[in-house]
Amino acid sequence: MVSFKNNKITSFLKRKSSEKQNTKTKRSLEDVESEEEIDEMKLEGMIDVNDSENEDAEEEEEAESEGEEAVENFKDIDEEEEQAEEEKVSGSDIADNASGTDVSSVNEEDELNSEDYEESGSDVSSFGDEDVNTPATSIGDTSNVESGITKTIYSDGTLRLIKPEIDPVYESDDSDFFQPKNTIGNIPIEVYDEMPHIGYDINGKRIMRPVKGKDGTSAIDRLLESIDLPAGWTGLVDKDTGGSLNLSNEELELIKKVEMASRGEVMNEEDNEYPEYVDWFSRHLEVMPLQAVPEPKRRFVPSKHEAVRVMKIVKAIREGRITTGKKVREQLQEEKKNYDLWGDNQDEGIDHIMQLRAPKLPPPTNEESYNPPEEYLIPQENKDEIEEFKAKNGFVPTKFAALRKVPGYANSVREKFERSLDLYLAPRVRKNKIQIDPESLIPDLPSPQDLKPFPIMTSNVFKGHADKVRCLDIDPTGEWLATGSDDGTVRVWEILTGREVYKTQLFVKEDEDYDGSKVEALAWNPDQQTGILAIAFGEQLLLVVPPVFGFEKENNGKTKIENGFGFATFGNSKNTIEGNALGVESDENSDNDDEDEEKTQKHSATSGKKKVLPATWNKPTVAQQEKDILISINCQKQDTIKKINWHKKGDYLVSVQPNSGSTAILIHQLSKHMTQSPFGKSKGIIMDCKFHPFKPQIAIATQRVIRVYDLQEQVLIKKLLTGAKWLSSIQFHPRGGDHIIATSFDKKLLWHDLDLGNLPYKTLRYHSKAIRQAGFHNSLPLFATCGDDGMIHIFHNNLYMNDLLKNVLIVPLKKLKGHKVTNNIGVMDICWHPKQPWLFSCGADGTARLWTA
């Protein structure tokens, strides 16, 4: 591409130079008029070649001929006379013209395209080749015209010469091929990397690679080239030569022009896109200034106007109207500190573009005035108008003599004061309302459905007692239920059928010698092989073996009771002699019994002061024998035994006489017919007393406090503050041991975990009246409470015995309703079947009930 352009440029330049030579020769010919022939020839040629000029000339001639007669002649001659004359005339004409138009024609020729020049060039050359010496050649004689030129006629009849194409021969000086050209075409030059040549020229000769390669000199060359780039360096490899392709500045300019042309921009060579800026008007004093106006006066006379303004500022500063920044800041601070509560804070809060000020209320109108002009008042007569105005504006213009006569005036001051007071006293604390889902406060308890079985319904009603049934107990085999009632009977029932199988009448109310004692408590001996029932009757403790067990068991029980007699008498006789009593006891019972030490200690303590035994064990009288009483333990204090509890081994029995002071709690030993009072000091009114199910401990409940004693160490282990005002009963958990539930007459059920301090772990208030009794199931995770509201509540409890980290789970399961409330007393006692999920209850309605799943 570049090379091609190059060629064209060169040929173009060459043509220009030859043209100039042509014009020079013309001028010389004109100057030398003597050589006519040559001149004519040339003119003739000129005419022939320049057809269009000729025509123009003819038109000019016609224009001229209008005024001259000679023109006609000329035409005639033109048609009829000889060529020579004609040639002379025309030649002179043209010669005249030519002298004037010489320069312009040359100029015109410059503008003509190259083809025209070629034609003219070839013309010249052809003339040169031909025999110039044949002036006789006529126009009409075509045969003389050189070969290749065809003559045709234009449409208007004039002659037209068409010359053949010029065949540029090899020797022609405008040939482009001044150097070998690589002819490998599209084959990439890299293919020849291995070869010594880089391709082939048009003749099929190799174009050798320029000297390069492994010798050091060329490497240095390249190094030098890379250090300072030669002018026109492009970094490309000339495909034709194999050397680096360098372009000259002109070539680069040309490329630039071509690129611009391709973009559609036309660029004049003279146009400089960025001409150098000449700063004519600068601060430098020119030797020859562009203007020489003298400086105005105001440039150096002080300004009166400024002086006035400065004086104003000075005056303001002096007067203190303009303050310094420090003072301004202080003032602002002061304003911040003291907030003007009552000020018109109109600008406040408009610190955001989106904040819109409330539209201003329209100013009050004349009608709203308390003293409006007369014309605004509506006369009282036209009521319609008044109504209409009122409906529209909400008021009626009224006239008052003075502002203080306006009805609202009287209270306005007070109202203002009160409003201010409200604002002043109103708490400005934002109250956060806490959103708590009430559901979330309910503990997540398992469903009672999953905790089955537990008692849900009455299966059996034990009917027969004539008065309220105070107490009941089920025998350890789960076969017989014993109930004690205020009608003086103790009855034993078959649990499944509700059949009364045994009854003993302990007292008859109508008897004259009845002392008002009642059956207050019942307890079967926990030893399954005895069948002994302990009955608390007044201050007596009666042991009975109901004849329902069969000979062997009954005999076993009876012998167990009677065996103590020998010992008791022995002990009694010894008891008068202090020391022996101690000795015997320690000898006999040194095996494993819990109360030994306690007892001996007590005896040593008490026997010194008084020799009165806390209780005596008596053989039954005849009357008692008829009632199947095997032994009666008569306590010293005339106080009703309210609670009894067997130790789990069945040898010890604790009885509670609440108001007996220090002997309120008595521990009776069956095997030795011995009674002891473990406490020397009164603890208050004792409500209940229970043995620990497996540890040598005893829990004693006073009205408000539960104390747990270790019987071996004889120390107080724990004092439980129940928080109740009047406890009714306590119960150890039969398997967990260290859990006590306590019930109270003030409707509370308290669960004490002995490991968790001395406050209740849970306080449950489910009963609506006093709670009388609570009971744990022996083997199932159930317990129940009963109360004077006639209800029995069944609870599930899970001690998590295997997981010490978990606290007890208590789930209320069921409310059992069935007992009638009589004289404000509901259910008086409950107990659980030893194996089944069955509950027994007895109440003031004279019945006992069996509740089953």
């Binding site: 299966s459 076969e479 067990f549 069969g550 062997e552 009876k558 089953t852 799943a853």
Partner: protein, 446 residues
Amino acid sequence: MSDEIKSHQVKIKFFTKDNEESIQLNSSNDQALFVPETLKRYGLSEILNHLLQSSTDGPVPFDFLINGEILRNSLKDYLINKGLSSEILLNLEYKKAVLPPTYLNSFNNDDWISSLDLQGQNVLSGSYDGIVRTWDMSGNVKKQYQGHHGAVKAVKYISDTRIITGSLDRTLRLWKTGAESESLEDDNTEEGKTLAILEGHEAAVVSIDVNGNRILSASHDNSVGIWSTNYKEMNIVDSLSKQNYSDAKGSTQTQKRRRMADKDGSTRRRAPLAILESHTAPVEDIIFDQNDASVAYSVSQDHTIKTWDLVTNRCIDTKTTSYALQSILQLPELNLLACGSSVRHITLHDPRATTKITNEQLNGHKNFVVSLARHPTNPHMFVSGSHDSTCKIWDVRSNKPLHTITREKSTIDNKIFAVKWSDAINAVVSAGEDKEIQFNKTENIV
């Protein structure tokens, strides 16, 4: 329009397994027919009567079974419950309906009646007053058997001349009955004679079953005793009176009681052939397998049903339920054991299945189900007595009772302790706390 929507039709077809001629459908009627799906038993019965055209003695009430299940509601309810399409053909088996039992009469006793047994026209009753009585059908006490010191809890006929009774006094007694003719002539009741006192249980004997010459007793001492009907087979026990003097240990009152017991001193005392101990709570009921005399089933308060092999005297299977069981009955044709429970229902167990515990529950009672008796012939039907003072007649093909028998002469809360189904007079005999033996005629149960 709305009528059409309401009364979708169901295609049904009647058939019966009954061989009775009068209720067979002839071939012209034996076709599938469309009936409204809202029809219940009564409507279907009307249609069937119409088809049978046995208008000679009025319409016969029918019961209907679909796939062995008695239809208790409308056809629509059945289809919905079973999730069936209403476009299927329902094959309805029909049988003569069980009519509600009708009250016949009651015999009045002096005390609660704990147990009953029947033999032909005779009724044997054990009472809480410790006396066993034999009644004839006119309500006369033919014989009295006095001897037990406690309430009689179980009575059973061994043969025409032998009965066995169990009591709360922990003993069983084998009695000999005299000739019946004598007692009928006299107006006095005859005293039965104790052949032997069977001792060995330590607590009340509550249930007895007899098969061949073997007696099984269930006791509240958690054991099952095996005895023989022939006292000679059993070992002799020294009477208490004999022990009395050799044993000096008895307490004073015991000695007194012993003297009282000397009355029985002359009676033979026998020990059990074996005592089966595996239950952990009082055994409530025991039965022989009716097909195999060497197998027995017992239920206990410890929630289990135990299968005993009487050859080796071992418990061979234990099914544990989740509630105390009170009574058991075998339905040998269906291979089922029906067990009455303390949680008010009757469960059906297959004794052959060792793993599956419960087949079905029959719900309806409101208290302990303490007595069960099967229909003399119908393999599907039995009657149950409960502490809720009702007896209920059941068909195992329906889990609801067919009929409920209430007490005629009583107020509320009169527990039923014993129920039997009499073959001879086709009546349900029940007795309980109200001291009445009540007869309820059950007709046309085949």
